[in-house]
């Protein structure tokens, strides 16, 4: 996992930029100068640092439509609603590097005057399109994409003035790919990280955000292990500003605990790997599983997400809208998700409800679990995070429930316990420490008491659907 030398980076770069005509426009030096001319307050890393200093939790929605003007109009509405960061969610074609299809979708969208794409085709809009976006709003921007290979998107978006991107070879392989080899994804991401490092060397800080988006019933320990390994890989290429996080599971103590431990643990592994000088911040995205179609219920999930972010002291929270179950939200519905979330955070900001013993308990459990998983993976990888990832996945040490990736073991079987906490019913090869696994079993047994005849997968289906049906735990009767 040695740092790529600049030659290698620049060699691969030629090929990356040739994937679509807009690549030719990207000029690293010109971009670095563009970034250096931006006011600090419009840069993600600066604002994250500011938020940490002031104990604030920042909020950003997800949003993206095909057309440039429409996208700008959308972002302005979100800015108005109080978003601290603005997103640019990239469409699925762009994620899969199907730029010609994205072009077709973009053109058809302009003709039909509605977005047929589920996001903003950043590569097709090119560097100047991205700069139009960045210059049309006041808040710092994230480019939100997710795939095993996002190199061209990041070249274009960063040159376009974006100061943060979603990232990670492990989180994006296991979450967004089927047969793209993990090893290859790592290389693709090392490229992006190296690019971020290149900017950093020139005084241009960019933030990189690591979290496992597929998180329906994924225990926080597994998600954090992935984010930490990705962070090690990133830092090795010179990334200096990293956010680590996970998706809300709707159990307040577990969610808050995960926020409280994640940066601390990540720091510990960075230090052990001799990777110093990295700024860390934390993120929680609101519930990433199926949402309730009822909009009142959806607001409940959103607001409980904000309560958890407050209890855990998140630096950043990604919000959902009350239309989540129905489809891409209207700008207004998206804005209401932002304003509800911000309101909860503003109202709780000073209340100092902590310490809460239950959160501390979940912290201790989680810390032991994450440590066990990452240690074991690093052991398999002879201390190298890239090998740890590949071999850890192969060995089922890292095993993400519901992952669409063929390399994923699919042996770990989660379930909610009687209090709604996500536990491992069957750990598979995930190296959960013995006492903790016994605790999981005991807590799960209390739930199973009330439904003794159920098969594990029936339980899982029940848990997957519960929130969209308006509850955390299905009730018998």
């Amino acid at each position: 996992m040695a740092r790529w030398d600049e030659d290698r980076f620049l060699r691969v770069r030629r090929e990356v930029l040739s994937q679509w005509p807009s690549g030719a426009r990207v000029d690293l030096n010109e971009s670095a100068a563009y970034h250096r001319a931006m006011p600090e307050a419009r840069r993600v890393p600066w604002k994250l640092a500011w938020a940490q200093e002031h104990g604030q939790t920042l909020v950003q929605p997800r949003a993206g439509v095909a057309g440039l003007e429409q996208h700008i109009a959308l972002l302005r509405i979100l800015e108005q609603a109080g978003a601290d960061f603005l997103p640019t969610t990239v469409d699925s074609y762009t994620r899969e590097r199907r730029y010609a299809d994205a072009q077709r979708g973009l053109e058809q969208s302009l003709v039909e005057r509605r977005s047929l794409l589920n996001g903003f085709p950043a590569v097709n809009h090119g560097v100047d399109g991205c700069r139009r976006v960045v210059e049309s709003v006041n808040m710092p921007l994230f480019v939100r994409t997710a795939a095993p290979d996002c190199r061209l998107t990041h070249e274009v978006a960063v040159a376009g003035g974006f100061t943060a991107c979603t990232a990670g070879p492990i989180v994006f392989s296991l979450g967004y790919a089927k047969d793209y080899p993990v090893q290859n994804a790592i290389e693709a991401w090392q490229y992006t990280y190296r690019m971020v490092g290149w900017y950093a060397e020139r005084g241009v800080d960019l933030n990189v955000e690591h979290y496992l988006a597929i998180s329906t019933m994924v225990p926080h320990a597994i998600a954090l292990a992935c984010a930490i390994l990705d962070s090690l890989i990133a830092a090795a290429q010179g990334v200096r500003d990293i956010t680590v996080g996970f998706g809300q599971q709707c159990h307040l103590a577990q969610d808050a605990a995960a926020l409280r431990v994640c940066a601390r643990l990540c720091r510990r592994y960075l230090d052990a790997a001799g990777l110093s000088g990295v700024r860390l911040s934390t993120l929680m995205t609101q519930w990433m599983g199926g949402f309730p179609p009822d909009e009142g219920q959806a607001f409940a999930v959103i607001c409980l997400g904000a309560v958890a972010a407050y209890l855990g002291g998140a630096t950043d929270m990604v919000t959902k809208s009350a239309q989540e179950a129905a489809g891409i939200p209207t700008p207004e519905a998206n804005a209401a998700g932002v304003s509800a979330s911000k309101m909860v955070l503003r109202m709780l900001a000073d209340q100092k409800l902590a310490p809460i013993p239950e959160i501390a308990r979940e912290e201790a459990i989680l810390e032991a679990e994450v440590t066990a998983i990452v240690d074991r993976a690093l052991e398999l990888g002879d201390g190298d995070a890239t090998l740890a990832a590949v071999r850890g996945i192969e060995a089922g040490i890292i095993d993400v429930p519901f992952s669409p990736h063929r390399a994923n073991a699919n042996k770990a079987l989660p379930a909610r316990d009687w209090r709604g906490a996500v536990r491992l019913l069957r750990p598979g090869q995930v190296p959960i420490p013995k006492e903790i696994q016994e605790y999981h079993q005991a807590e799960l047994a209390r739930r199973l008491e009330h439904s003794p005849s159920r098969l594990p997968w029936e339980l899982l289906l029940e848990d997957v659907n519960a929130i969209s049906r308006g509850m955390l735990l299905e009730r018998s009767g």
Partner: protein
């Protein structure tokens, strides 16, 4: 208990597999033979697999909103591939945004799908419809 063979998959640049996995589990439980293509399945892959296993039906899942861009043409490809009259279902968050269901359904029926399902459809419903439709093809009652 059915013994029909189904090809399932998530079409196009779409990676949402949770819903389909759950549906597949339920279909297998109900006795169907399920051949799953997983995520990121192309129309050609659907047709090739269906030919290979002599499938009785193809179930296409599309959640990411690109259904209107990815789903047209599958019926035509089936016919070209010799899958005359194969049962074609499609389901998920088929279009971008919240649109009136009647419109959406109409658009996909016009593409040649036999049945069109919104997100949130229960496996029970799908099993019921499949059982009926398969029986109707064979001229029997389920």
């Amino acid at each position: 208990m059915s013994t029909a063979t189904l090809v399932t998959g998530v079409i196009g640049a779409d990676i949402h597999n949770i819903g389909l996995r759950i549906l597949e589990t339920a279909l297998e439980d109900a006795g169907f033979k399920v051949v799953s293509l997983g995520i990121l399945a192309t129309p050609d892959e659907f047709v090739r697999a269906a030919v290979e296993v002599s499938a009785d039906a193809i179930l296409v899942s599309s959640l990411n909103g690109h259904g209107e861009l990815e789903c047209p043409g599958l019926r035509g490809k089936c016919q070209e591939g010799g899958l005359e009259g194969i049962i074609l279902y499609v389901g998920g968050n088929l279009v971008v945004g919240k649109q009136p269901w009647e419109d959406v359904q109409g658009r996909f029926l016009a593409m040649g799908y036999d049945r069109v399902y919104p997100a949130g459809t229960t496996p029970r419903q799908v099993i019921l419809d499949l059982t009926n439709d398969l029986a109707a093809r064979k001229g029997t009652t389920p």
